[in-house]
Amino acid sequence: MDWISPSDFLSIPFDDWVNAFVKDWLVPNFRPFFRAIQWPVVQVLDGLEYVLEATPMLLFTGALTAIAWRTAGRGVGLFTAASLLFIDLIGLWSETMTTLAMVVTAVLFCVLIGVPLGIAAARSDLFEKIQRPVLDVMQTIPSFVYLVPIVMLFGVGVVPGIIATIIFALPPIIRLTNLGIRNVRSDLTEAASSFGATPWQALVEVEFPLAMRTIMAGLNQTLMLALSMVVIAALIGGGGLGLTVFTGLGRLDVGNATAGGVGIVLLAIILDRISQALGEKKSVRTVSLASTLRSFFAPARSKEPDARERAA
């Protein structure tokens, strides 16, 4: 005898509901709106791509090498020069520049959106509580799941790819901005307000500079996540190194796919080292790795100290 299962009596047409929601309501009603929010992304991407494509390879290599050398030291500088030279020699320069433009655009928008949201979360426990599950979903949901609605709303192309990348790469910068500002020593914020600082003055003068190192760690994470999305973005029409890997995969062209992969890895290492070094440089106060990790998993630590502590 078969066991009785609830689905014998009742089935929920969840997929139909989602279809109805997206196809019959979201797309017809909000397509113009979603088209419109692409506009700033398109402007930034086109500008960046134009500049990067127009810059001669040697000039760009020299400039990035100089930046890497100054911020992260001689080793990273030499590595940058060698990597960019290798990428050029294996014939992927143009693709690399496209990928770089996409990644930088995505990260720029992540910062523009994520830092204010992180500050808001640090200021309001309620906002943090609301935001937390949303960020959890953004980080756990497989990106393939939201590629479909993104294509329906934004169409196919590089820009929808960047939008998917922004969704994927946004959580760390929000979380670490929140953490960085919450971790600023309470006596320092108290000192700021004891001199009559407005909340904005306290943020600009004290909290933000002291949280900078943690925020830079968030930026680094966001950057790395954005790079890891380039192959997936190629699925919906994003170009660059992701496309090289993707077509290599389609044709079982192991050489081409590997070349694209190596390009992504080299770019990732360069950007990681430079962005990490920027974080170190601006550092004034350390947040340990352990506490950073804890903040991802543990429930939010209440900003208000325990009543008994306060009484002291």
């Binding site: 001199f195 600082a197 003055q201 003068e205 004290v206 306060r310």
Partner: protein
């Protein structure tokens, strides 16, 4: 002159429903019962005091006594549950946020226990912080910051970062930061507690010296009664959120209000608390024109070993019984020749500790005030009687 700070019936209750706890508290329930029943913690209970312009008002209490909460209510960092706090004529407890910020920018500055210097700013930028918040121009900011640093002797380190300085230096910067905006009131929350004992003593002396010049109104929080006695014009002893006694150093040590206070005052060096004036008695004098035998008679009548000799309004010297009788034996009638002009003297404000060397001679110590007026004498025996707590 009206008091600078007037607090009346201040209460602070931490928790989610302070009103309920406040009602219970006013009905006479004790704090532990209120905590058990409502989960609300009583921080400060029914505290009232006044601080006059130019006074150092010290609040002394152990950790958990509510002293840090109290000082934070004075500049609105913690909002009181009930009560009134007048700074001049503004009620900090009920004014708007904008008014409160104006009070903090212009009238009150705070110095913190762990210095609370901004690690990303230089010493000069730290000191100029209050001025920057007020919107002072860059050039004036720098100038006033350097002037404030000069007052604490640190102008040479203006461009260092706080972590390059020692603890004592860091707190000097904290003090300079408080002084830079030229506030009328300085709140000091255990400013010297984190320092080494020797540095602490230097800082206390330096603060008193600065105060001579600046005449700020200071509310000083400490857990150290020694520090309170050294610095305080008046001292409040705080326990479990209440003031148990308020008074001068001499009142606190001389007449402790209860066992709790006397437990603290027990190991205090009384010789550094009490002043000569507290044990002064009416001087026994004789005019310079009197004769030696008059003097001997007077000493015998009063049962004294020595008399102070007055030349009109001026104190001419001291005459001992031995010298007087010797003069009579030798036929010397006038006091002029036998009085001792090298007599022990002190100021009424000197501490008993300063009288020790003089008390050794056994002669009464003459007290002259700052105008040179002869106001009284301290019999040497009284010094030790006072120290023993007999008076």
């Amino acid at each position: 002159m009206p008091p600078k700070i007037t607090c009346s019936e201040l209460y602070k209750i931490f928790g989610t429903e302070p009103e309920r706890a406040l009602a219970l508290l006013k009905n006479g329930r004790d704090k532990d019962a209120i905590y058990a029943e409502t989960g609300q913690v009583v921080g400060v209970e029914s505290v009232s005091f006044k601080v006059d312009q130019g006074e150092i008002f010290v609040v002394m209490g152990l950790s958990g006594s509510g002293k840090s909460t109290l000082v934070r209510m004075l500049n609105g960092l913690i909002e009181p549950t009930a009560g009134e706090i007048l700074i001049d004529d503004i009620d900090v407890a009920s004014c708007t946020k904008e008014e409160l910020r104006a009070v903090r920018r212009d009238k009150i500055a705070m110095v913190f226990q762990h210095f609370a210097l901004f690690p990303h700013k230089t010493v000069a930028e730290n000191v100029a912080f209050g001025l920057k918040i007020k919107g002072t121009s860059v050039a004036e900011r720098r100038e006033r910051a350097l002037a404030a640093l000069d007052q604490v002797g640190l102008s040479a380190r203006a461009d260092s970062y706080p972590d390059e300085l020692s603890g004592g230096m860091q707190q000097r910067v904290g003090l300079a930061r408080g002084l830079a905006t030229d506030p009328e009131i300085l709140l000091m929350d255990e400013p010297f507690s984190a320092l080494d004992p020797l540095i602490r003593r230097d800082m206390q002396a330096e603060l008193l010296e600065l105060q001579q010049k600046l005449k700020k109104t200071i509310v000083f929080i400490t857990h150290d009664l020694h520090e309170a006695l050294i610095l305080g014009s008046r001292i409040a002893i705080m326990r479990n959120g209440r003031f148990v006694q308020t008074g001068t150093a001499e009142e606190i040590v001389g007449t402790p209000a209860d066992d709790y206070v006397s437990a603290f005052t027990g190991d205090i060096d009384r010789s550094r608390v009490f002043r000569a004036s507290s044990i002064a008695v009416e001087p026994a004098t004789i005019a310079l024109s009197a004769s030696a035998s008059d003097a001997v008679h007077r000493m015998e009548d009063l049962g004294l070993d020595a008399l102070h000799v007055m030349d009109g309004e001026r104190l001419a010297g001291i005459l001992t019984y031995r010298d007087a009788t010797k003069a009579i034996r030798e036929g010397e009638g006038a006091l002029q020749g036998v009085l001792c002009r090298d007599f022990p003297s002190a100021s009424p404000d000197d501490h008993l500790h300063d009288l020790y060397p003089m008390a050794q001679s056994g002669l009464p110590i003459a007290l002259s005030d700052s105008h040179g007026r002869f106001t009284g004498v301290v019999p040497p025996r009284a010094v030790f009687a006072k120290l023993a707590g007999a008076v």
